[in-house]
């Protein structure tokens, strides 16, 4: 059974130590330390180009690490790629199928490649197709499938080999909201009921945060933070509360009024958009929303909007980015940042 395969190896289902991949001078993955246990769902979150897919390819033995080690199901993917690939179900980003074959034929090919007992194949494929809701369209050509149907067929395809570890690259992309909910339910089921270790990558945090036991935030090849969603949120709130303020009036005056509020660490002008021509992002020690509003009104300025950012993952993620961007902006001379 899936759970026993991981259990027999004793250790974690996925473990990397100082895993590094370089392409020439570019470091795609930088000294990554990652652990995923059986029955756990780990979300690798980051923007496109952060190195998520490179990491996944190294875990599958499809790309060789420049340095560091990886263990998947207790095996080294660089040395025993076949054994690893036997145990790991992989849903690639933007999964493709042979358009001239039917969904069922595509799955049958995968079953053959995995050496699934031919006598049991038909039954197994039917069960998987039922499970992903493709039983009715299983015998039409994949050409005619929608993107969401392909994605679901991809899940079935990854399950054909009865994996103990599953790696899903952007599993919720291009699926309608209902499909996303079903996908997440399936992921939860696989982890809880069948003890599969799941590593999923995504840049759509809102969609996956509910299903992930832990998340890692991956930016420019580095895992900048990892832990439970709540833990990360707590970590972040130590760094202050972010409030977005929209105000009409002279920008310099607005900034002065905002900085006058006690506890405000930083005021940063946000790029203008059509909706709200003048906005600032204020970082304060604690919730200073009321004080900010009062200060602006006292200064004779009009408050057009006021919003405290929540602790959800999107916010965390955005803040990691912002820190990086402001760091580079400051290095380059700064633009409209005040202390």
């Amino acid at each position: 059974m899936a759970a026993t395969a991981a259990a027999t190896t004793g250790g974690p289902a996925i473990e990397t130590r100082q895993l590094t991949k370089r392409y020439g001078d570019v470091i795609a993955v930088d000294r990554l330390d990652l652990t995923v246990s059986a029955g756990e769902v780990f979300g690798l979150l980051g923007p496109n180009g952060a190195g998520k897919t490179t990491t996944i390819l190294m875990l599958l033995g499809l790309s060789e690490p420049t340095a560091g080690t990886a263990r998947v199901a207790g095996l080294d993917p660089a040395r025993q790629p076949l054994e690893v690939k036997r145990r790991v179900g992989y849903l690639p980003d933007n999964v493709g199928f042979y358009g001239n074959l039917t969904g069922r034929q595509n799955l049958r090919y995968t079953a053959r490649l995995n050496g699934v007992d031919p006598a049991a194949t038909d039954r197994r494929l039917q069960d998987l197709l039922d499970q992903v809701g493709l039983a009715d369209t299983a015998d039409t050509r994949v050409d005619t499938y929608s993107r969401g149907m392909r994605q679901r067929l991809g899940i079935a395809d990854a399950l054909v080999k009865d994996p103990s570890v599953m790696i899903l690259d952007e599993p919720t992309i291009a699926i309608d909201p209902e499909g996303v909910a079903e996908m997440l339910a399936l992921i939860r089921f696989l982890a809880r009921e069948r003890g599969v270790a799941l590593l999923l990558s995504s840049h759509l945090l809102q969609q996956v945060q509910s299903v992930c036991d832990r998340v890692g935030i991956f930016v420019k090849g580095r895992l900048v933070a990892q832990g439970r969603v709540q833990e990360l949120a707590a970590q972040m709130s130590d760094a202050g509360v972010v409030i977005e303020v929209g105000a009409a009036g002279d920008p310099a005056e607005v900034e002065r009024a905002l900085l006058a509020v006690p506890g405000v660490q930083r005021v940063q002008r946000v790029a203008r958009d059509e909706r709200d021509p003048q906005r600032w992002r204020v970082t304060a020690d604690d919730d200073a929303t009321g004080a900010l509003a009062r200060s602006l009104v006292t200064a004779g300025l009009t408050v057009t909007s006021l919003r405290r950012h929540g602790d959800d993952l999107d916010e965390l993620y955005r803040r990691y980015f912002e820190n990086r961007q402001t760091a580079t902006a400051a290095a380059g001379g700064g633009d409209g940042e005040h202390r």
Binding site: L62, V95, L113, L159, A185
Partner: protein, 335 residues
Amino acid sequence: MASIAEPQGPTTATRGRAGEGLPAGWRVVARKELADHLLSLRFAVLLVLLGLAAVGAVYAAAGGIRDAAAQTSGIPALFLLLFTAAPERIPPFYVLIGFLAPLLGIAFGFDAINGERSQGTLPRLLAQPLHRDDVINGKFVAGLTVIALILGVFTLVVAGVGMLRLGIVPTPAEVARILVYLVVSIVYVGFWLALANLCSVALRRAATSALVAIAAWLVLTLFATLLVGLVADALAPVPADATPGELVRSVTLQQNLARLSPNALYQEATAVLLNPRARAVGFLLPVQVDQAVPSRLDLGQSLLLVWPQIVALVAVTVVLFAASYVLFLRQEIRA
């Protein structure tokens, strides 16, 4: 995903210890590719195209042989004339096949790898428990099998038409020659398959790959003789008052240059294999054939005559295949 049923338990028979119970990956790949090829439109199109050419050539040849029955009776290896005779300005069967058969290799190879890439199936395929070389080996085997099938069928059709129209049956020696001819033809088309496979690995777009392969085909089969003449003239110009020695040197140079094209190698090899009376590959001076007694070579002698050509054909095929192999193994998976 509508309902999450209790999934079927694993097939315990197939989940034995690591390394056990896995089929040879290339066999699975070859089986799938072969099925794809046989059901593809390109298979049907090529079958019709080559079929028309072959049947046309053979009817013409058979007709010519019958019309000239008086002279031809008693000619040894009459049956082989079906493949080589060209009475009505239609090129003989073996020349037509030599010209058109490369299309088979190109058609079944030009999108071998880049097709997987563009469909997005390559990462998924390589995430299955098979080696990367299984993919390219399996595809090559499948392509070669289809090619062997088509060439074999046409050779049989020619033989059948011959027996029906002429009422003659091939001798065992002739059958042996036809079989060797078939094998050499498969190797020759294998060269084009390897070339197309290389293009499919090196070039990301299937259309570009097909164009490059077809360009190579046109250059090596149609324009080669033209180019060879030009290059030979440039390398060693023949003066107007050239001595016979200079002329011979010039012609030999041209011949050797032409042999850079696998098409030339194939034509030389098949011309000798299908004609027991051919005694030399190149040209002969009148003094060399003067007083010669017309006689037949047996198959072993004919083979010996064109052995270099056959070895060269195999060698370039292997080199091209190895190149695509190495290139593919080094490529990054991501598109």
